[in-house]
Symmetry: C2
């Protein structure tokens, strides 16, 4: 399998979906929709929605997973827009481009985030309206993953934890919720659309959890070892904000060892699935290479 | 009918529902949930959720309208928290109490708003999970009303319109979306839960539109004629921010005449409903008295 070409094909499907489901930039009010489009089109790697498509295609999907993938990318993008705001991370750059409030202004970025969050649920209820059982299950799953005890909860604890020393358990709470919750729901939403049974959904959730934690550790490693140009955003920010990271708690080498045990576990679970999980396995292997 | 007593009974049902559906203030992360609770319990009149309950009870409802009413109040509260933030209205007081970012801090208020918005969809998908057709119809309806072309769109145009002269049409766009969208969906969600047919849903939507516009004009009138203590928030803010209001466009007297024509139309529509709409009619009449 040519992983890069496959990722590229998935990415194009996600981007066509975005073009269909996110109102165009000239929809009234144009400034709001232009800001939503700006951020959702700002060159993300589309990891989460790609995982939705790939998870759906493990099974015999009759339903189209693209709208759910777009809904997920809307949630991810809103959380980045709000995190970047002056009152939280005060970031000027994201993926090498001005953040939403820098390109537009603060009120517009705030409302564009709100609107993308709301749009995620509009998409799920509109795209799957002929299959209300699926539609309401997806809304339940995504709203829980994005809610006050998962995504937003992790973000809140992360903010509260700046300038303080966290234990391993507290750091796990933050990462499980701030990062792994959306990666996990990306995979379980896809699998649900594909028609997975409960046991398969459980395995996908466990893979998602391991992949999500790997992402977070990888992010910490890159923040500590990369440079601004390579990463497209300022590096060293964690240490500057005195954030507790895996690196600070365990040191670089132990963080790498921990991440590799997570990817190993995720690949093992892939092999237990009774379907062609070659793409997922290769994708996880590629994360492993980046840990080196 | 004793309108005040009936309103009070409805309000208590809404507040019991809030206590069930909004996580308690000590749920981890406690600061986030305390902020959500603080704002959602900050003494609102619960007009929107009351309209949901009253609209459901026009019909032979088997489903409980309380969760939908709470979902709606979560959306209303989130929009107030975000509107009050320094980058938008920069308000220190709301209903006579410190606004969420004054009581807590800006990041907490931002995330509490996000979490209440998300919670609305969690509630709809959780509470009505045994009736997925209803659940997904409610999510579709609420997400549209709260989305970038209704509630948030109206808010965006309102911000863009400060310090400028709006036409009647532009002002109608703002008020129809910023205020009337949620009032309308409050009534149609209730009616849908009650089992209303398409014609009845259409009438409730039209009543909601008229009541919503009346509310906005009433708000403009009170801002221009009341004092801070009576209103529980600073008055004269519209004129200070050079906002275009109905008062600025038409003068106080014409604004009153316009509002009365809206309530007259709404009451007429109530009488056309083939059910006991006494509460709704009395409620609308009480708005009419406040216009004087």
């Amino acid at each position: 399998m040519d992983l890069k070409a496959t990722l590229n094909t998935y990415q194009k499907r996600v981007e066509s979906g975005i073009d269909i489901w996110v109102p165009s930039g000239d929809t009234q009010p144009a400034q709001l929709h232009a800001a939503m489009r700006y951020s959702v089109e700002a060159g993300g790697k589309r990891i989460r929605p790609i995982l939705t498509l790939a998870s759906a295609e493990l099974f015999n999907t009759a339903e189209d997973p693209v709208p759910a993938a777009v809904a997920l990318e809307c949630i991810h993008t809103y959380s980045l827009i709000h995190d970047d705001l002056p009152s939280i991370d005060n970031s000027d750059l994201r993926r090498g481009k001005p953040t939403c409030h820098k390109q537009f202004d603060e009120p517009t970025a705030l409302l564009a985030g709100d609107a993308l969050l709301t749009l995620a649920f509009q998409i799920l209820s509109e795209a799957y309206r002929d299959n209300p059982i699926l539609s309401s299950a997806l809304v339940l799953e995504l709203s829980n993953a994005a809610g006050s005890q998962r995504l937003i909860g992790g973000q809140m604890e992360d903010i509260l934890g700046e300038h303080s020393d966290y234990t391993r358990e507290q750091l796990d709470y933050i990462h499980l919720n701030k990062t792994a919750a959306l990666i996990t729901v990306a995979m379980t939403m896809g699998a649900r659309i594909g028609g997975a049974n409960q046991e398969e959904l459980g395995k996908l959730a466990e893979i998602g959890r391991n992949v999500g934690l790997t992402f977070q550790i990888l992010d910490d490693i890159l923040d500590a070892t990369s440079d601004d140009n390579t990463l497209g955003k300022p590096t060293g920010a964690d240490s500057e904000h005195q954030k507790t990271t895996y690196i600070k708690l365990f040191g670089l080498e132990d963080a790498r060892v921990h991440a590799k045990s997570l990817t190993g576990k995720a690949r093992e679970l892939c092999q237990q699935l009774d379907c062609n999980s070659a793409f997922l396995s290769e994708f996880i292997a590629s994360l492993e290479h980046r840990i080196q």
